[in-house]
Assembly symmetry: C2
Homo-oligomer: 433 residues x 2
């Protein structure tokens, strides 16, 4: 039986999950693969707090650098988080030729290029399945099962907090603020919640998925990012009446050789698989040019699901190291090209949901429709409900595909109309066609 000796940096939620998973199923993994995983060292600044998992004496240390330097340790698991010391430790380990496993999406989104290149230069690997989609083996599916496919598009629900909030807003027709407060009280959302609800966490993950799909590190700036903060439950109710649900989507597409990339709340048809992803679950819908539509679903966060992904990477890194496999596909796929071409946001064609508030008088709708027509935007459906005595009428419009620049201009023109009583609300509609 071969043995692989693991050094873990960071003994927080995920770190403890990894240790617990290896203690529970290490023997089973050894039986399956012929490699026994051994947690040799765990470094954390705090080594006194009870993490709910017992480790043998001598395993815990406060000195991360000594773990990286320890010649008896085969691979390093970085679970510290953040982009400062995590970066230093990761680069140091890679420069020593040690494979690094990480769950740190922010680190990869901000410093991916440097990290992948350092791994390649030192003939070793960086593995990061846990950085996207928690326990879902989505990156592994992309770089192994779907390796023969040009990726046409990826749609991801990648943030459990946002999906939980949207699910509850939909079920309870409740406002964003009260559900967010509740989610924070229940521990499903952090305080402050910005990273999640402003879409930044989703964008970190989208950038990693896009990098792998198209073969070069993608900068965060290439991802037009909008979260769910301030989303009105009125939009969710309107969407439901029209047969749609609202999800915070990462949208990645090959647009004639240019990468389209965004994070935004979008209407999705309620009978599409991705609309059935509720609560804290994540899902990634991948369309390959050979395989067609595929989807991957599971828990996107949490001690054990994320631990499961880290363990999968540990065993792959171990096999690769023991075989002398060199630079793995998780590195080579990220460095196929120096850089990518991106779609400019204004040229992206999309369908939209638009909610207007119009004065209840003759000619209001005609003015609006004229503006849509002038901007080459076809209307797929219009719903105006009768309102008594308010003097204004809410109008909900679903459009056909049109250019973003036309939508921007049309919304400005409508907003300037004297019959428009409030700023138009607009959201993408994604029908996956």
């Amino acid at each position: 039986m071969k043995e692989i000796r693991i050094g873990i940096l960071g003994f927080g939620t995920v770190g403890a999950g990894v240790v617990e998973g290896i203690q529970k199923n290490g023997a089973l993994m050894a039986e399956r693969t012929g490699i026994m995983p051994v947690v040799a060292k765990i470094a954390d600044l705090d080594i006194t707090t009870d993490r709910g998992v017992k480790v043998p004496e001598g395993v815990l240390t406060t000195d991360a650098m000594s773990v990286i330097a320890d010649e008896s340790i085969d691979l390093i698991v970085e679970l510290i988080g953040g982009t400062t010391i995590a970066r230093t430790f990761t680069l140091t380990a890679l420069k020593k030729g040690k494979p690094v496993i990480t769950a740190n999406k922010a680190l990869l989104a901000d410093h991916g290029a440097e990290i992948y290149k350092t791994a390649r230069e030192n003939n070793t690997g960086i593995y990061y399945e846990a950085a996207v989609g928690g326990g879902i083996p989505i990156l592994r599916s992309q770089r192994a099962g779907l390796i023969g496919n040009r990726i046409e598009s990826i749609f991801g629900i990648l943030n459990g907090t946002c999906n939980y909030i949207l699910t509850r807003m939909e079920r309870e027709a409740a406002p964003f603020d009260s559900i967010l407060a509740d989610a924070q009280a229940l521990g499903y959302a952090e305080t402050p919640p910005d990273l999640d609800i402003d879409g930044i966490d989703t964008a970190h993950k989208a950038v990693v998925l896009a990098s792998m799909a198209y073969g070069a590190p993608v900068p965060m700036a290439a991802c037009a990012t909008k979260g769910i903060r301030g989303l009105s439950e009125q939009e969710i109710v309107n969407a439901a009446e029209l047969g749609y649900r609202i999800k915070l989507l990462a949208i990645i597409k090959d647009n004639n050789g240019a990468v389209e990339l965004s994070v935004e709340p979008a209407l999705v048809p309620e009978d599409h698989m991705i609309a059935s992803v509720h609560d804290v679950f994540n899902a990634v819908f991948v369309k390959g040019d050979i395989v067609g539509d595929t989807m991957y679903y599971g828990r996107g966060a949490g001690r054990m699901p994320t631990g499961s992904a880290v363990i999968g990477d540990i065993m792959e890194a171990a096999a690769n190291k023991l075989n002398g496999g060199g630079v793995p596909v998780s590195v080579t796929m990220m460095l196929q090209k120096d850089k990518l071409a991106y779609c400019s946001a204004e040229n992206i064609e999309k369908r939209c949901y638009v909610r207007l508030c119009l004065e209840d008088k003759p000619g209001s709708m005609a003015k609006v429709m004229t503006i849509f027509g002038n901007h080459n935007i076809s209307i797929a459906s219009v719903v105006q409900k009768e309102r008594h005595k308010t003097g204004y009428a809410p109008v909900v419009i679903l459009t056909q595909k049109a250019k973003e620049s036309e939508f921007v201009a049309a919304m400005a023109a409508i907003n300037a109309l004297d019959v428009s009583c409030c700023e138009p609300v607009r959201m993408r509609l994604e029908d996956f066609e």
Copy 2:
């Protein structure tokens, strides 16, 4: 750039798909992995029919054994199907130390033990992602991403033909026979359709999934198999009224160390992800002890989706061979144990749907309920609709969990009642709890 030379046996639907996929994206694969796949030889008895894909002169041959013997060929792709010559070719290649990639679920279900052992003895690999779930990277997810998990259960929709028939029966409230005939006319079902509609194809795949989950080749005899032949649309309508859909499920569970394994039509809650799998799509729902619930979805058959899975295996086998990686996890996971313990069918606890036809007179229902009670079967819901002038009433019952042996005895007792007008119909209800 390294090169891997591939010999393909069988130039049918999938064989042509593999060649087309490599021609289309071979350069991309090389860029991603550093390995260029080259289709060196293709053997088929018929090398004159146009397969919709052009191959260079000298590549086609009618002599499969010469391809296996060719020292310049690194790995063999078996796409002949069947369990006779496919077995011979597979074993011959493995004995020469050549990795074999196959999409042949029947071969693995019938001769898996021999094949895995031959691979191990000859320090090489057999790869078979395409045998289960077509283009879905489900086996790879199981043996890599989820390697740290004890598998608690797997539920699979593994036969596109059956799922297509069930989807249309549900949408159109149409009878089985007419939809089957239509599916045959459209090319979605074969003639004869037995392998699909009697659940045998699903069982072949279930056996492979169970073998990998629990670590030893599982014989077909261990899989209690029931297909959808003769399923009445009445059951589908009744299920829908109660909030369920009927799917042909492969059910694999760890039942306190004994493997529970069956293929059967079952009611699933309509709001469960697996209920949203329509038409020819497949999906596999895997519950791991660490990762929790995960699901994998995609096209379960067809030239290109299956080709995609074969290509994924080719690239993995290539990397493994070039690295001198020896016996892969796709072999070691199948040979952890000599044999497994299985649950006997009569001890399995399950919920059921039962449809009865009772004489419309006082005491009918009481007699039935007494029988259920005597057999320790609790009732979850009962629906009896009013019928005028027929003299009998259809009764639909959903039960709580009870032992299969109790269900069998209860059904016999009910059938023997003078008030029972037709044989009870019974089906499993799976609520994934």
